[in-house]
């Protein structure tokens, strides 16, 4: 018989809300779509998370933060598992999360392009509105930026450089 009081799955989801992305502290791992499922195997809590970008160095940090959070809440019997079965997509981000990103100064991701249309878009560039002044007069500086998930843009209206969360 276990003397430790079991938490409900809903409670554990609440704990996970307190784990934020170390690179984008305005978003928690649920809003990011990183935390995928919470379940019990007997008395053991299983938390499944999925990586955003394959090479994202924040993933190790996030995994550790989830563990630390569970321990802090008195959960000792748990396993944090990396689940690759569903590929992470920015389409999982909620509208609320996208608004938070914009307020933080990062142009949020737009809807992803269907795979079969990709080759046709090789030479085109997409328009990303400036998160500061909402102008469409912006240009791409580089598809790669300070972290794996962001591109660099420049606003020709308010003359501010800004980052755009890539759509994947």
């Amino acid at each position: 018989m276990s003397l430790i009081q079991q938490h409900t799955e809903e409670q554990i989801w609440e704990f996970l809300k307190e784990v934020t992305d170390p690179e984008i502290p305005v978003l928690n791992i649920i809003e990011m779509g990183i935390a995928r499922s919470v379940s019990y195997e007997g008395d053991k809590v299983i938390v499944k998370i999925t990586p955003t970008y394959s090479g994202c160095p924040a993933m190790n940090a996030i995994e550790k933060m989830v563990r630390d959070k569970l321990i802090e809440q008195g959960i000792q019997d748990f396993d944090v598992q990396l689940d690759y079965s569903e590929a992470w997509t920015t389409d999982w981000m909620t509208d609320e999360a996208k608004t938070k990103l914009k307020d933080f100064g990062i142009a949020p991701p737009q809807k992803t392009v269907a795979d079969e249309d990709f080759l046709k878009t090789l030479s085109s560039t997409k328009v990303v509105p400036c998160p500061f002044c909402d102008s469409f007069e912006t240009h791409l500086e580089s598809e790669f930026g300070s972290t794996a998930c962001k591109s660099q843009y420049f606003c020709d209206s308010c003359h501010q450089p800004f980052e755009h969360f890539k759509c994947i």
Binding site: Y53, S54, G55, W88, E143, A148
Partner: protein, 260 residues
């Protein structure tokens, strides 16, 4: 005994995963050598990001290989504790970076081939493998777009950049034959629902490559020239051993060290 050399589906899938992972690790390590040496800050960041993606792809594939193998080996084992003859990456990916044009030519050829390969592998039976392929494909599209843009810009650029871009493709061409090498491993994995038949996209890939080179005002080198062979069976150029020495020595000096 006739059964001793017969591969099981599990052994074939393991070998297949290691081929994919080795390609990505070795190319990722090469691309990472540009970190701090890029021609401009944005390009330095771009190449470092691409290297990180490739090493991330290798990590996930090695993890899965460890599960398939079932001996408790993790990604570090496959990356750091095997010798050059154990690696099954293509020679194409172990060649030194040479100049920026060569690095870009190789990245373009890798990512265009990878794009079509992953489009096929998206239908894989193994759910973890399928998920990885879908994920890696999303990232690889950025690599392809980036490398292709540079091929166009440098090929159709100054006399110097044009000449260097052409020289890069001329030099690399004899390493491309192996992209379409298949053997029993590919056949078995394909029959078991996790593989791809590269002949199914050979012409699509060739068209993309030829159209890009032509748009970049470059001459498409001769497809029928002598082509290198042997990579998938552990035959490598002299460059791989030197690269592994650099990549592996720290880990091998501290084999018991842990991260967490």
């Amino acid at each position: 005994m006739t059964t001793t050399n017969k591969l099981t589906n599990q052994e074939a899938f393991l070998a297949y995963l290691l081929r994919l992972a080795d390609d990505r690790l070795i190319l990722g390590q090469r691309v990472s050598e540009w970190c701090g040496h890029g021609p401009e800050l944005e390009e330095d960041l771009a190449l470092a990001n691409i290297a990180l993606d490739l090493i991330g792809h290798a990590t996930a594939l090695y993890e899965l290989a460890g599960v398939v193998e079932g001996k408790g080996n993790d990604e570090d084992h496959f990356a750091y504790f095997r010798d050059d003859a154990d690696f099954s990456n293509l020679q194409l990916y172990e060649l030194p970076n040479d100049d920026f044009a060569f690095t870009i030519a190789r990245l373009f050829l890798f990512s265009s081939f990878g794009y079509f390969l992953y489009e096929e592998l998206k239908g894989a039976k193994d759910p973890q493998f399928k998920g990885m392929v879908e994920k890696h494909l999303k990232e690889l599209k950025y690599h392809l777009r980036h490398a292709r843009n540079w091929v166009l810009r440098l090929g159709d650029g100054t006399d110097e950049s044009h000449q260097r871009m052409q020289a890069a493709f001329d030099e690399i061409w004899m390493y491309l034959g192996e992209l379409f090498y298949t053997d029993e491993i590919d056949t078995m994995v394909l029959a078991d629902g996790n593989g791809a038949d590269p002949t199914s996209f050979h012409s699509k890939w060739k068209t993309l490559v030829e159209e890009t080179l032509t748009e970049a005002t470059l001459t498409v080198p001769d497809w029928d020239q002598f082509m290198m062979t042997g990579s998938r069976n552990g035959m490598h150029t002299e460059y791989l051993g030197h690269m592994l020495a650099t990549m592996q020595f720290l880990r091998r000096s501290h084999p018991e060290a842990v991260w967490k």
